[in-house]
Symmetry: C2
Subunit: 242 residues, 2 copies
Amino acid sequence: MRWLTKITNNFSAEKREFSKKLKYLLGYEAVNLEIYEQALLHSSKSVEITQNNERLEFLGDAILDAVIGAHLFRIYPKREEGFLTELRSKIVSRKKLGELGKAIKLDNYINYDEKKVVLSNRMLGNALEAVVGAVYLDAGYAQSEKFILDKLLKPHINLDTIFQTEVNYKSILLEWAQKRGKSVSFEMANTEYDQVEERLFVMEARLNGSVVSTGKARSKKVAGKEAARKAIRKLGIVVEKA
Amino acid sequence: MRWLTKITNNFSAEKREFSKKLKYLLGYEAVNLEIYEQALLHSSKSVEITQNNERLEFLGDAILDAVIGAHLFRIYPKREEGFLTELRSKIVSRKKLGELGKAIKLDNYINYDEKKVVLSNRMLGNALEAVVGAVYLDAGYAQSEKFILDKLLKPHINLDTIFQTEVNYKSILLEWAQKRGKSVSFEMANTEYDQVEERLFVMEARLNGSVVSTGKARSKKVAGKEAARKAIRKLGIVVEKA
């Protein structure tokens, strides 16, 4: 039986090592190690849906949105929906998630095939989402909230800075259209059915005269900006700075 | 002091009545009644951000995505990210949320100005999102999960039916292009960096020869469909059935 004991010991040692590394990453003792292994397994190592981290990305993405959304809701009690949506979308942007993954040293954890792929910012962000999904499955919503706020948001995201680097949606849209010989205009729309007082403005973003999107806000300026932001999303324009 | 007692009694009676109605709606005893009052207050009655239900909509939307995402993740253990995303987007579509609001009789709860607006499917869906946000704030994530699954999803959504009424993205895209005198084609793309075995296909949707989007899947058919779905979103094409 000596060989079996040896195998078991080696196996346990490896598990113990991984468990210790995870504790450092997560700030708590993981129970189901396999789920974290999956979260860190890039598709270059396994294309099997049930083994690699792509499904967990889907889950983690939703948990990140909920936790960060609820957090912003609480810390900005007087800001409107559009503001909260915009601020959150900056925090969970591809670029920012990759930076967060790097900040918590996920590059030391991801299991990928170095012969096939180069570790990218995008892979780091995806793995981070998957890890959040694993935290949710292994330890529940409250723990994933704690992980996201205490390990990611509070130490690595400066909300004031993010706020200042606000994207100028209108100029991005105008520039995009100009390059393609199209015209952009912003126009006041008619009053909408669920809009009741004069200080609510609905602005339309128009491309060659056709409405692409509308934005609603308490000032024309903000409504126009909101319309531009939506138009950019609808038209699939890539916003580099976000 | 008799008048004071009378006022207090009337006030309490009203609160008690609302609390009883809420219990019927939610399936549990609400603690912070004010937050539900706000969730049910349409902007036609108050344009104040801190009073009407628009901020709570933002919160509820995120909680719905997380809870339904996690639920689908669990009940479809072998389905890929794209499938889960698509199925969820159908469940939380404007139309479906309005129907769910109607199904749980939210029309009896919404506080709106009948002289200014007509109660719409959209208002019902928005109020439903706001109620979910209120449940989360008042009773926590676990209770909002219970509410969403037991009161909304399980009794009122037939996942098989939703699945069957699958949108034919390719034909929608083709029709849209045809009307505009543009050509659409689907072509196999080169292998991508994170794709390692031959049974993963990457298909491109092209408009007048230019790539609009790509789809990745284990069959060419599904990859093409996925590419079409993304192209529709990018081009801002409105899908009526969704």
